[in-house]
Amino acid sequence: MPEVWVYAEVTHAGVVDTTALELLTRARSLGADVAAVVLGPGASRAAGTLGDYGASRVYLSDDDVFGDFVAQPATKALDQLVTEHSPEMLMFATNYDSRDIAGRLSAKTGATLMSNATGVSGLDRAQTAISGGSLMVDVVLRGSPKIVLVRPKSFAAEAMGGVAEVINVEARIPDELRQARRRERQEQDAAGPNLEDAGIVIAGGRGLQAPDNFKLLDRLAGLLDDCAVGATRAVVDAGWVPYAYQIGQTGKTVKPGVYIAAGISGATQHLVGMKGAKRIVAINKDGDAPIFEVADLGVVGDAVKVLEQLIEEVKRRKGQT
């Protein structure tokens, strides 16, 4: 039986990145045997979850080398496993470390690689959305294995209650692959609910005009249940808010019930990260901005003024004024 492998990222505490569970759920439907690979501190503690979502086997190592050094040790371990077991397809999520490892593994093995997939329909077939999601590209992959990098939230994760066989991987990583060392880890915690899981997302762009106006988004979010604040790449690059706020191609993918885009023009890079929202509200001065093409409710006007009015309206409805 052909094998499909899912590469899973894991925290030191053993929490599996949700994207791996999405990929496992999809992999189960491809008529193949499904396995997961998880490397670095926390890996053993992740095996139960990976089995629960459909991995029949989990190849794992808790060795610090995979956490301490960027990309090269994981590529080496995966290359050895692939040579030994010949899986038909390897699925990675478009996450920082996964993307690096997938790119290296493709060069190392000669395996063809497809990036930014939003669908996987067979062992040799995947799809990707381009032009901000208006065009779907259907791709046939040849050779073995095939590597597919899948955008987060392309599939819903569903547990199935399985138990995985655990196979320990011995890490024999030579010194020449221990070059790029993580010296320090800085976390920047955003307040409120996790941007990727929030039911309501309010995001701001250049149209807010000044970093100070971003506080309006925080004030509105504070009045709403289950609401998080995000931003476009332009304002993150400008240093208004930390990178953790960024929604889009490079950044987070969100699928909230309501998405409010305040002062956002709607570049493709942003649209791919939020087009899955159930309802989209756009507030922008330029009535021709592409964001209006995907908005259910459009307001052509000054985002700052509309936000101020909206804050008053929400307060009024909550009986706070």
């Binding site: 790119g103 063809t112 590209v137 249940d225 953790a244 929400v314």
Partner: protein, 253 residues
Amino acid sequence: MNVVVCVKHVPDPNAPVEIQDNRIKRTGVQNVLDPGDMYGIEAGLLLREALGGEVTVISMGPVQAVEAIKRALSMGADRGVMISDDALTGADSLVTARVLAAAIRRAGFDLVIAGVESTDGYTGTMPSSLAEFLGLPQVTFAKRLSASASSVTVDRQTASGYHVVECSLPALVTVTAGVNEPRYPSFKGIMAAKKKPLEHLTLDHLGMSAADAEVEQEIVQISAVDERKSGTRVANDEAAARIADLLAEAKAI
């Protein structure tokens, strides 16, 4: 410090993407130096100014893509290498990495710099594949970069913050927008660029053949997706009430 910077000539990101024969249309459209690459060029120039050495700019693409290199030379890079070959039409990121690796090996370097991903294809895997072909360690997503003669230190962006990564040279680094403020070419720079060495290479020069350029994937169909329909527009004076209605419907109020 000898730095090689990879650049790409891409369709103007401000114009709509055109598709022809199942590929992004690259000829007959306005092309520009990928805006993401300007940060890589600037990073190379800053390192040269601090540590000496040369900045070589390298690109692969149709012959007219040499314009991207010329732009980099006018910003201050020292030399250019342009790889063009009919056999490379339709090359994917793996083939691109293989070809660039062959050319970069000839050039000699301490550090290779690229953008995180191109603005047209945005696969984002070419630099990692390139690092593997060259046998180099890599540090991607640099939002801060400093170097000594023997190592680089990078603040590498993560989903929730950043990691400080230290890496011995030679190495490959990809830089994000925001790592620096790219300079504009001066008139003097534009004039000087015309006299700078610019090498044109084909697969033959690199000891490669069409077999090295074979792509193992094929687009079989491009179809229009049911677009989200744009909904209603509301006047400014009703906006707050209508948005609040939506939020109430979603049980956020």
